[in-house]
């Protein structure tokens, strides 16, 4: 963060000061990677081009991304103007590494890929607002026999 211009750095530090503190230490032991079924959960505001864009007012709604969605079908409607999008426009995998994950599954490094990935727009504050959505998704991910989740920001 030392490389960031001052207004962005100051903003992020101020947010760190206001971020919620937790007292518990949840910990679930993962299955071995070679047997792990992995789902991606992103806060980058991604969705298929045919889906509704994310609301202009940040909320905790999510979009479903079928695990076999081609990269060319995904787009981004995140409301923030404070991060780079040129990388995403050139190559989805810099934000949402579906092609890399497919390669790792094919090589047997991971067991398999979930039927569905999920996408939020991570602008809602405070982050504790996402608790109900996370509980809902956890139930769906278990039905999809997912062992572990890779969370990726933007």
């Amino acid at each position: 963060m030392a490389d960031l211009p001052e207004p962005e750095r100051a903003h992020l530090l101020e947010m760190a000061g206001r971020a919620p503190r937790f007292s518990d230490r949840p910990w679930v032991r993962s299955a071995p990677l070679a047997r792990c079924r992995i789902a991606l959960v992103t806060t980058a505001g991604l969705h298929r081009a045919s889906d509704r864009p994310f609301s202009f007012v940040p909320g905790t709604e999510y979009r479903v991304i079928p695990g076999d969605t081609p990269a060319a079908e995904l787009t981004m409607s995140h409301v923030s103007v404070n991060f780079d999008r040129s990388g995403f426009h050139a190559d989805l995998n810099v934000v949402f590494p579906v092609d890399r994950l497919a390669e790792l599954a094919q090589e047997g490094f991971i067991g398999s890929i979930a039927q569905y990935h999920y996408s939020f727009m991570g602008a809602a504050w405070p982050p504790t607002r996402f608790e109900a959505s996370a509980k809902e998704l956890a139930g769906l991910l278990k039905k999809d026999r997912v062992d572990a989740i890779l969370l990726t920001p933007v």
């Binding site: 211009p5 962005e8 050139a90």
Partner: protein
């Protein structure tokens, strides 16, 4: 992101997490996180760098093998191409645009730029397989729509289901995406920082956005004022003025 990881883990699902802002991750302590020293918007380092993306992905997944936590590990490499952006020449105007349209009419200026950038945008779409915009409306029409907000009677929204603020926001997002996709396709491999500098300092569209920001801040419509405050111009540009 860190909070989501905690909530999933409480529900019995193991998580690993790529973190772009170490300070946030340190405070919220998700079970497993890989901090990466990359710019916001690029959690896997660099576009079209599959070997590097894979390295980051594998490092994040390997955290699932940890015996106990919380684990906050640091990815040891900078993103490919990031060093050259620190060089002064990396921030020089990277894009070749022809002479500006005569006069100071923002619509004529922006439409002139769009015409010059169109062939490069076409190349970008052919390469990535997808259009940069979300609205499905032609970029010239979006430019005329956005410019109308500088006057007393803005055009009606191109989408009746969107509020004025949302329509203007989406129009501006699509315009900027068009410019950056086109500029990225030109020869020279301009970095993200150089492209941002170019858009905000060198283009008529960047100047239009700054004028729109001002117009929104002075609007009677609360949603438009919010747009002006937060959602048209990045903090680093608005703060520098």
């Amino acid at each position: 992101m860190s909070a989501l990881a905690r909530y999933f883990e409480r529900e019995g699902l193991a998580t690993t997490h790529v973190s772009l802002v170490r300070e946030h991750t340190e405070v919220m302590q998700p079970p497993r996180a890989l901090w990466v020293p990359f710019m916001l918007g690029r959690p896997f380092g660099a576009p079209n760098a599959p070997d590097f993306q894979r390295k980051v992905l594998v490092a994040a997944l390997r955290l699932l093998e940890a015996e106990r936590g919380p684990v906050l590990e640091e990815f040891p490499e900078d993103a490919p191409g990031s060093a050259q952006e620190d060089e002064p020449q990396g921030l020089a105007c990277p894009i070749n645009l022809g002479p500006r349209a005569a006069g100071d009419d923002p619509a004529a200026q922006v439409l002139g730029e769009i015409a010059q950038l169109q062939p490069w945008h076409d190349i970008a779409v052919q390469r990535s397989g997808r259009a940069a915009g979300l609205t499905g409306v032609g970029v010239e029409e979006l430019a005329r729509f956005a410019v109308s907000y500088l006057g007393a009677s803005p055009r009606p929204s191109y989408d009746p289901n969107m509020s004025a603020a949302e329509a203007l926001k989406r129009a501006c997002d699509d315009l900027k995406a068009f410019y950056l996709a086109a500029a990225s396709a030109q020869p020279g491999n301009s970095g993200a920082a150089a492209l941002e500098q170019w858009f905000w300092r060198e283009t008529a569209a960047g100047k239009l956005f700054l004028l729109l920001r001002q117009a929104c801040l002075e609007s009677a419509d609360k949603s438009l004022r919010t747009l002006g405050e937060k959602l048209l111009v990045p903090r680093v540009i608005a703060g520098a003025r």
